[in-house]
């Protein structure tokens, strides 16, 4: 061993070690690094732990399908309106390409997946937004699918659960995307007036036009730990007021403290909490 090895910079040490000892081949996808605490985690362990870091409880961002798989009873999910795709309504430059790219990379048609399923044996309508599709932005199809989900729930007297994740309204659809805020809110109101339960689960990040519409309209508003929940995103605020924001500003815990979230719920307990809430609202009795 090199006598001066101990004074070498660390990275150099590692490099020389690598050439000396033949490391076993480890495929990248076997490991995941926690973005919060930096711990290397076995992908299979993360998977088993509902995509939560076993060390610091960081909740990894997950896509809409995974979310539904975690929440719905096995094989109970039936998707609605899966075939709906967005048009470039206002002929916005570059939007067609952006849509194509998002469809390819996310393998989804839009930023929300809706359907019916059972949770703890109870029939519900479920909508799950997808950050992998244009950062979960709300275009006309997103708005329409959510509106349809609420209308379906109202028509069939079902409770509805919506998982939100969104950068806000989709500017490539101009005013039409803004109108989706009113449209979805109207559908929520009709569902509410029919005496039906609506639970929102805010996940990281939920912001802009989605926060200022159906995300904040639930009878019960849950949130995942440390999720960013905002109307205006932190960067926009920092630019406006020209000062740095405190670290915890706009986290789920902060928003709960301010009185706008009912409860921050660990993802591993989410299904149980949802089931209990549905039961407390007298859903699923007929099943017993």
């Amino acid at each position: 061993m090199d006598l001066f090895a101990f004074i070498k910079p660390k990275n150099e040490l590692e490099q020389s070690a690598e050439t000396d000892v033949k490391k076993p081949y480890v495929p990248d996808e076997m490991w995941e690094k926690c973005p919060e605490c930096g711990t290397l985690l076995l992908t299979t362990d993360v998977e088993e732990n509902c995509q939560v870091c076993s060390k610091c409880n960081y909740h990894f961002r997950i896509n809409a399908r995974k979310r539904i798989a975690m929440t719905a009873d096995k094989d109970s999910f039936v998707e609605m309106d899966a075939e709906l795709v967005s048009d470039n309504i206002i002929d916005f430059p570059g939007y067609d390409e952006k849509l194509e790219k998002s469809k390819k990379s996310s393998r989804e048609n839009e930023s929300v997946i809706c359907g019916t399923c059972k949770i703890g044996g109870i029939d519900v309508v479920i909508a799950s937004m997808n950050a992998e599709f244009m950062m979960g932005s709300m275009g006309s199809v997103t708005g329409d699918k959510i509106t349809r989900a609420f209308e379906y729930a109202t028509e069939h007297s079902l409770p509805i659960i919506v998982f939100t994740v969104s950068g806000g309204a989709r500017m490539q659809e101009g005013i039409i995307s803004l109108m989706q805020m009113a449209k979805t809110s109207g559908a929520v109101k009709r569902h509410s007036d029919a005496g039906l339960l609506y639970i929102t689960v805010l996940t990281d990040p939920t912001s802009g036009g989605v926060t200022a519409s159906f995300a904040m309209e639930g009878d019960i508003i849950l949130a995942e730990p440390r999720a960013l929940i905002a109307f205006a995103g932190p960067r926009v605020i920092e630019q406006t007021i020209r000062q740095k924001l405190p670290r915890d500003f706009q986290t789920a815990e902060f928003v709960q403290d301010k009185g706008f979230v009912d409860r921050v719920v660990d993802r591993r307990k989410m299904k149980k909490v949802l089931t209990d809430l549905l039961r407390i609202h007298n859903y699923g009795e007929a099943e017993i």
């Binding site: 500017m171 659809e173 449209k183 109207g186 926060t211 205006a232």
Partner: protein, 260 residues
């Protein structure tokens, strides 16, 4: 005029503000009512009751202010959550007494700041959207200048939305759009074009019902004819059974961006 010229015209500080409209149309009959009953009185939003000809009306307007002092006091027409909550409180009051609601919109957007977030800007806007949709009294919103995103639609879930010929209404400011999409805020003119945010574009998209000739301050005749138009619309809508009225309001928004 290019789309961006319209944006600049909409921001023109010399054009009449909500206060001017209220004064010109309600005159001495306007009684301002303050506060949201839970936190404060937001001066970016003016509200109250008054007589429009022979008709009692609740009127709410986002006020930018007419000079530097006023603009500071009015926070440049950028409302906090308490502003939207004040507006909703007055709308609920109008519903109780079955008075029509008239809203004037003129804002670059809901305020972005620490207090606004802490007090639930998103929640305040969301609640307005939900409650206005089923408000059991006629609602009319008129865009007199800028219609900036969520902060504008929070006062525009109405039976009809009208716009002044030089008003704009958009999901994002052209500057914001250009800096996000093209990392270059100097491309605002291109963004304004692309966003289809002028009254004429929005009329074509079926988002507004009427484009109005813009009155200049002191133009009594124009304000009189606008007043008459508003009264006639309210009379028409007051005659519609409320359940039908709110259903029409829902359908008005339901069809926008509806997928076949």
């Amino acid at each position: 005029m290019s789309a961006y010229d319209k944006v600049l015209a909409a921001r023109d500080t010399k054009k009449p503000t909500s206060r001017d409209y209220i004064k010109a149309m309600f005159g001495e009959s306007f009684i301002e009512l303050h506060g949201d009953r839970s936190y404060a009185d937001d001066k970016a939003v003016i509200g109250g009751v008054g007589m429009l000809n022979e008709m009692p009306v609740t009127v709410i307007g986002i006020e930018k202010g007419r000079n530097t002092m006023e603009r500071m006091e009015r926070n440049f027409g950028a409302a906090h959550p308490e502003g939207y909550r004040k507006a909703l409180r007055l709308m609920k009051q109008a519903e109780k007494f079955h008075r029509p609601v008239l809203c004037f919109v003129d804002t670059s957007g809901a305020f972005c700041g620490i207090g606004a977030e802490e007090r639930g800007q998103g929640h305040a806007i969301a609640t307005n959207l939900m409650e206005m949709m089923t408000l059991k009294t006629p609602v009319l919103s008129i865009f007199i200048g800028e219609g900036g995103s969520g902060g504008a639609i929070a006062l525009a879930v109405a039976d009809e939305v009208w716009m002044m010929e030089n008003a704009v209404y958009s999901v994002i400011s052209p500057e914001g759009c250009a800096s996000i999409l093209w990392k270059d805020s100097s491309k605002a003119a291109e963004a304004a074009e692309a966003l289809k945010m002028t009254a004429q574009d929005l009329f074509d998209l079926g988002v507004v019902e009427r484009i109005l000739r813009e009155p200049t301050a002191g133009d009594r005749k124009m304000f009189e004819s606008l007043k008459l138009l508003i009264c006639r619309t309210f009379e028409k809508n007051l005659a519609v059974p409320v359940d039908q009225l709110t259903d029409l309001r829902y359908q008005r928004f339901r069809k926008i961006g509806k997928v076949k």
